[in-house]
């Protein structure tokens, strides 16, 4: 099977998965106890609105017809309407996505890079004192809950040292614009990004370190050493490239949680992203919003998995374009 054919197959598979997610989403709404129309309309909905929802989603029609109209609504970008925010679900989510990505994407990339650099250092002096100390420190950090670390950072840098803002995305009192606003947001993001970065570093560190140590004792490392290649060239040209697959895979898989993974940290730091949106939606039983967030999140996970499969083929020539995983 050729590369293009493989890609096409994976894309079709992706659509299929998204479609199943859609159906599950639909079934959850419809199998939930109570009147689906009033659930979907939300608790604050008026009788007229509930009736309108019933008409619009065809809730008086048989289930398969309703499924078709639900899917077609979603495909056309209609995720429903949030009463708590008086706004369409899709536009609500779209507003929050970049705000969350600012935290999650930045921290994921930082954690990957820092974790990898530490791993390289550790692995090159494997089982040295430094390696053992760093490894154990990482183990401790790995077991720290994100919200707790967030609170500690707030205590130290916010309340204690008074260096950094601890809540929200902007200084509401300052009402900055332009460059000042950008700087304000940046400063506000330092603590939440640090928290998220710190808790993700151990995973990348551990995986990359072990992968490098393992690859360093592979037969090809010996072959190149015996051929006269020095340690640093061997590392740069061969060992690193061979060691990258596991950490890169974890990174790509992690992208699946890029929208939903920061909920606790967003809450601790009052960051107005997807996490806060979801929390608010749950408190106010804003079902259309919850379902919308759920749908977007599941689709992100599906896309991340798709991305990993493609990446695998690009990074490792041994992976055949077969369909074992499907």
């Amino acid at each position: 099977m050729g590369w293009k054919e493989y890609l096409l197959r994976r894309i079709i598979q992706l659509f299929f998965i998204v479609f199943i997610v859609l159906i599950l989403n639909f079934l959850i709404i419809n199998l939930a106890p109570g009147d689906p129309a009033s659930i979907m309309a939300g608790e604050l909905a008026t009788k007229e609105y509930i009736e309108a929802v019933r008409q619009k989603w065809g809730l008086n029609k048989p289930i398969y017809e309703r499924l078709i109209s639900y899917v077609s609504n979603v495909v056309h970008g209609d995720f429903g309407y949030s009463f708590t925010y008086s706004q369409s679900v899709l536009s609500l989510i779209a507003e929050r996505i970049p705000i969350t990505l600012m935290l999650t994407l930045t921290s994921s990339i930082l954690a990957f890079v820092i974790g990898l650099l530490l791993a390289v250092r550790s692995a090159q002096n494997a089982f040295s004192k430094e390696d053992i100390i760093v490894s154990n420190a990482m183990l401790v950090l790995y077991s720290v809950p994100s919200f707790w670390l967030g609170l500690v950072l707030i205590g130290v840098f916010g309340v204690g040292l008074r260096l950094l803002p601890t809540s929200g995305m902007t200084d509401v009192r300052a009402a900055n614009t332009g460059l000042l606003l950008a700087i304000d947001i940046l400063i506000h993001s330092i603590l939440p990004i640090s928290t998220l970065t710190a808790i993700q570093i151990p995973v990348y560190y551990k995986i990359a370190r072990n992968s490098i140590v393992e690859q360093s004792s592979e037969d090809y490392a010996l072959t190149f050493t015996m051929a006269g290649m020095n340690r640093s060239d061997l590392f740069r040209k061969y060992i690193l490239r061979n060691s990258l697959l596991p950490p890169v895979t974890v990174f790509a898989l992690h992208l699946g949680y890029i929208l939903s993974g920061a909920v606790l940290v967003e809450i601790v730091f009052g960051w107005p992203g997807m996490g806060r949106l979801l929390l608010g939606a749950v408190y106010s039983r804003d079902y259309p919003l919850i379902m919308g967030i759920y749908l977007i999140t599941s689709i992100t996970v599906a896309f991340a998995n798709f991305f990993v499969d493609i990446l695998y083929v690009l990074l490792d020539p041994r992976v055949k374009y077969t369909n074992e995983s499907s």
Partner: protein, 321 residues
């Protein structure tokens, strides 16, 4: 005049709870254009010997004493940079066959190019490619191999790639550590034949290491039999074939070459469990003592030296004086 001289080399490995004596006073020499076979069961120290010559022993290994003289220099005493100028240019190795003897995620051509460049830093890519293709061709491979990854090749082809790799810088000496182990018999035979033809054509000395007598006998002019880190017998291949002397060599020959009519006691010798390694440190007798059917009290207390019995045929056993 010999090309390579190995003198009284001893190597030990340290593990967390013990020391393993992998080589004990190993001495031999290699002449120009000679093919020397090293025969011994698994664990007898053959790979350790090859790694010692390449100075690529693992960290937990220590060369206790000995010299390896090549061109008036002791390889065991060279600086890293001097060493890297000898590796591959003068002495190269065909590593023990495995899936990952080359990097699995780099194209074969790129890997060979990197090795070639190590020793010819100013070489043009085009010229390098010519050399690589030439070495692949003489190793009985197609030129298209340069664009392949190791996993796309069969075991035999991978082994030929390793042979081509070892030829890249036209070394004087090639070490081949179990070059055919793990391949089917037909491929084994072909590769041995190709190696011999190559050696005939482009002239180099070779040390071929194997646990398999038929491999050694097929290709080498002289044989070194190793047991538990020591050379127990050495001689011309013909001489050893006609008259194996050491009880271990004899048993090995009986079992491996005359499968049809194995004597029970020979099989017992070869199969008998080794319990010597644990109490090796305070044992000063013959290395083969615990498995030898002819052992005497003297064998328990003294370790026989390798002594010449007849023309260029030496053995380390009290049965021969």
């Amino acid at each position: 005049m010999s090309l390579l001289e190995v003198c009284k080399v001893s190597v030990e490995y340290k593990t967390w709870n013990s020391k393993i004596e992998a080589l004990n006073d190993v001495s031999f020499s290699l002449s120009h254009n000679e093919i020397l076979g090293i025969l011994g069961e698994s664990g007898s120290g053959k790979s350790t010997l090859a790694l010692t010559i390449m100075k690529a022993l693992p960290k937990n290994a220590k060369v206790r004493n000995g010299k390896i003289i090549y061109k008036d220099k002791d390889l065991l005493n060279l600086s890293e940079s001097m060493l890297n100028s000898i590796r591959w240019k003068e002495i190269s190795i065909v590593p023990q066959n495995s899936m990952n003897s080359l990097s699995p995620v780099h194209k074969i051509g790129d890997q060979l190019y990197d090795i070639l460049k190590l020793h010819n830093p100013s070489i043009e890519k085009k010229e390098a490619l010519e050399i690589i293709k030439e070495k692949l061709t003489i190793s009985n491979l197609g030129e298209n191999i340069v664009d392949k990854y190791p996993h796309q090749l069969s075991g035999g082809m991978r082994q030929r790639v390793l042979i081509a790799t070892s030829l890249l810088c036209e070394p004087k000496i090639i070490l081949a550590d179990e070059p055919t182990t793990g391949l089917d018999v037909v491929t084994q035979y072909q590769i041995l034949k190709e190696l011999k033809e190559l050696q005939d054509k482009i002239k180099f000395s070779m040390i071929i290491i194997s646990h398999d007598i038929s491999v050694i006998v097929n290709i080498s002019q002289r044989v070194l039999v190793m047991y538990n880190g020591q050379v127990v017998e050495e001689g011309k291949t013909q001489s050893i074939l006609e008259e194996p002397m050491h009880p271990y060599t004899k048993a090995l020959f009986e079992v491996q070459l005359m499968v049809g009519r194995i004597k029970k006691e020979d099989l017992k010798i070869v199969e008998k469990q080794d319990n010597k390694i644990q109490n090796f440190e305070n044992f000063s007798g013959c290395v083969f003592y615990f498995r030898c059917p002819f052992a005497t009290q003297r064998c328990k207390n003294e370790n026989p030296r390798l002594t010449k019995v007849k023309n260029e045929h030496s053995v380390a056993c009290f049965l021969y004086g």
